[in-house]
């Protein structure tokens, strides 16, 4: 089937007293791979279920290739869904699981009876189903397990069967709800590369829900970041990494953690952090108060007393492969800030060493304080320190 575009238009959904989706709008182009990224409970799975037709929105509309889906049942939306727990039929073999969507759609109740195979017309339909199931099984390399039941398969094998069941009827829209959550790390990397390649090859429009930012970054054409029932930003992985629209998005996309410090803009390009003047290109609103944020890879460690850098003490060190994450205790911070340095520098920054943290003025961000943010952030004010 030809890939379709999707327009999600001001969708709202309420569960009891909880507003799960607050007027969500999102447009996905035909053939595009879009991830919906957000912490658990942000409403991303709810959104996916609404697109699939498993739940109905309270208001708003979903259009697939321009046609409203409001009165279209899940079966007729041309949507395939891969569930987090795979939702395979446990009493059916892998073969029958993959064949199920075809059997349910193409054979009527009578034709599905075991004896009906004797009729030439049914036999022909069964052969056509068999051909497609075997082709999908070969593509996903699950042929050896076709006679097994899901209970006899490993997590990765089950996941492939679930993919096969979703792909076999050539959906025009492919929805995946955290499909890698139950796989171990090595398998997750392999599977996500395979899935991304498969999606490119088939060209099926795909919406992928995940809470894992590295997964979203690795696979997507674009990422929609969701918080608390709203979409905050829709952008390409690169744009999202370089230019997050607010503090929540920046925090969510920082590994292992964004360092946030209360700051005040003095003149354009300069902020005051804990009594130090620090260069920060993003700070362009003189007089504004807010949060300066930077990623571990956007700071460097200098000797104590360096001009324009923040004084601190090395607290502890964590190894992360080629790099080392140095946790530095700064004077006015609750939590230590994290600086990523090359492992060859390790010997200079033993715990207890005095140092300065220099920010990369071009890469750090300044987020002006909004009224709601003062209450929610856990950062002490400069005066209190």
């Amino acid at each position: 089937m030809t890939p379709c575009s999707i327009e999600i238009d001001a969708i709202c959904k309420r569960f009891g007293g909880h507003q799960a989706l607050k007027s969500i709008s999102l447009a996905v182009r035909a053939g595009e791979f879009v991830s919906i990224l957000g912490p658990s409970g942000c409403g991303k799975s709810t959104l996916l279920r609404l697109i699939a037709g498993l739940d109905d929105p309270d208001s708003g509309d979903i259009r697939v290739s321009g046609n409203s889906m409001a009165s279209v049942g899940p079966r007729d939306r041309g949507v395939a869904f891969v569930f987090q727990n795979y939702a395979l039929y446990p009493h059916l073999s892998s073969y029958d699981n993959i064949a199920a969507p075809l059997v349910m759609r193409e054979l009527n109740g009578f034709e599905r009876l075991p004896g009906a195979r004797m009729l030439p017309s049914v036999a022909r339909k069964r052969r056509s189903i068999d051909d497609r199931v075997r082709a999908i099984a070969q593509m996903l390399q699950v042929d050896p397990w076709l006679t097994h039941k899901p209970g006899q398969l490993s997590g990765g094998q089950r996941q492939r069967i679930a993919l096969g069941r979703a792909l076999v009827r050539e959906p025009r829209l492919f929805l995946l709800d955290e499909p890698f959550a139950n796989l171990d790390a090595a398998l997750r990397h392999q599977t996500r590369a395979e899935l991304a390649a498969l999606q490119k090859r088939l060209g099926t429009t795909t919406i992928f829900v995940t809470h894992d930012q590295s997964e979203a970054m690795a696979m997507s054409d674009r990422i929609a970041v969701m918080f608390d029932g709203t979409i905050r930003q829709v952008a390409t992985p690169d744009e999202l990494y370089r230019n997050p629209c607010d503090l929540d998005v920046a925090r969510f996309l920082s590994q292992p953690r964004l360092t946030c410090m209360p700051a005040k803009v003095i003149v354009e390009g300069w902020v005051m952090i804990g009594g130090e003047h620090v260069a920060l290109a993003d700070a362009n609103m003189p007089g504004a108060e807010g949060i300066a944020g930077f990623r571990p890879e956007h700071a460097t460690l200098r000797p104590r007393g360096t001009q324009g850098a923040l004084p601190g003490i090395v607290e502890r060190i964590e190894h992360a492969g080629a790099d080392v994450q140095v946790f530095v205790r700064l004077a006015m911070m609750d939590e230590p800030c994290i600086v990523r340095v090359g492992s060859q520098e390790l010997s200079r920054w033993t715990p207890g060493t005095s140092c300065s943290v220099a920010l990369d003025a071009a890469s750090g961000w300044f987020f002006p304080r909004r009224p709601a943010e003062t209450a929610s952030t856990r950062i002490r004010t400069v005066e209190a320190a």
């Binding site: 498993l54 049942g73 569930f83 939702a87 395979l88 039929y89 009493h91 349910m104 759609r105 109740g109």
Partner: protein, 299 residues
């Protein structure tokens, strides 16, 4: 320093510990199950009558007498009819009601309790209520039938109807138990599998039932079938309270004949023979059912 322990010594120690830990259960089983059953088997080989000082060994004579007895043969036929109505009836209706209860969000536990009530209630009291309901002149059932234009019926004193009336009460008695078991089974089916089925094209509830519910309930259904069959074969109290086996033996079931033989005519020997035959039959039946279901699942 610990003494080195050879593997065989360890096995012996493990066996001893196992025996020690299971001994209370073994003791209880022997005292409460094996000894009484053996006593019944021994008694079934004698001509003992309640109150006698001594008994004589008569071999299998009791079994011959019982199996040639017209009343007993009649009771076997009655029991089979009763089972053939109650088992499918209570399973089918139990499944139907559990599906309806599972589908609703409100009053679920209220319905569950209402259906389970007959299982916990004292049957003698409930049987009296049924007697009133089925009364030929002022009973509610006949009043309703009369309003619908059907002739009034003597449910419990018409030999052609009484067994079916007792079977209806038997279904009512068993449904609640089956509903609770089916509800437990239904609650273990993940919601996502139903959603996957609706996306795969099983749009009607019936197709989803065939694709998901029925196969996934199979283990529960097997258990319910075995339990319902055993309970239906063991029917006694409704008959004893409501019809006393009558009219003209039309509701006399196996256990009722056993009771009459042993405690009304005090012929413990023949009564025990019936008990042993019944025990063996029910044991074989449940073994066969379990075996068949196990084969079906592995096929």
């Amino acid at each position: 320093m610990t003494r080195p322990v050879s593997p065989s010594q360890r096995v012996v120690a493990q066996r001893r510990a196992g025996l020690l830990l299971t001994s209370p259960a073994i003791l209880a089983l022997v005292l409460l199950l094996l000894l009484p059953s053996s006593a019944v088997i021994v008694l079934s080989l004698t001509d003992y009558q309640l109150g006698d000082r001594a008994a004589h060994y008569v071999g299998l004579a009791n079994y011959r007498i019982v199996s040639l007895d017209r009343d007993f043969q009649h009771s076997v036929r009655n029991t089979l009819v009763f089972v053939a109505i109650v088992v499918p009836g209570s399973i089918g209706l139990g499944l139907f009601f559990s599906l309806r209860i599972e589908g609703r969000s409100r009053f679920r536990s209220l319905y569950r309790t209402a259906f389970f009530l007959p299982v916990t209630a004292t049957l003698v009291a409930m049987a009296t209520a049924w007697e009133v309901l089925l009364h030929p002149t002022f009973g509610l059932v006949n009043t309703v039938l009369f309003a619908l234009g059907v002739d009034k019926m003597r449910f419990l004193s018409n030999p052609g109807v009484a067994l079916f009336a007792i079977a209806a009460i038997g279904i009512w008695k068993q449904i609640g138990f089956n509903v609770v078991l089916f509800l437990a089974g239904l609650s273990t089916i993940p919601r996502e599998i139903y959603e996957a089925a609706s996306l795969d094209g099983a749009q009607s509830g019936w197709r989803r039932f065939l694709l998901v519910t029925w196969p996934m309930l199979a283990p529960v259904t097997l258990f319910v079938t075995v339990i319902s069959t055993i309970r239906a074969f063991s029917e006694f109290d409704t008959v004893a309270v409501l019809t006393d086996g009558g009219p003209v033996h039309s509701t006399s079931v196996i256990l009722f004949v056993l009771y009459e033989e042993a405690f009304r005519y005090l012929k413990i020997g023949t009564g025990s023979a019936i008990a042993v035959m019944f025990l063996v039959f029910v044991a074989i039946l449940s073994l066969v059912q379990t075996h068949l279901a196990g084969r079906a699942r592995n096929a």
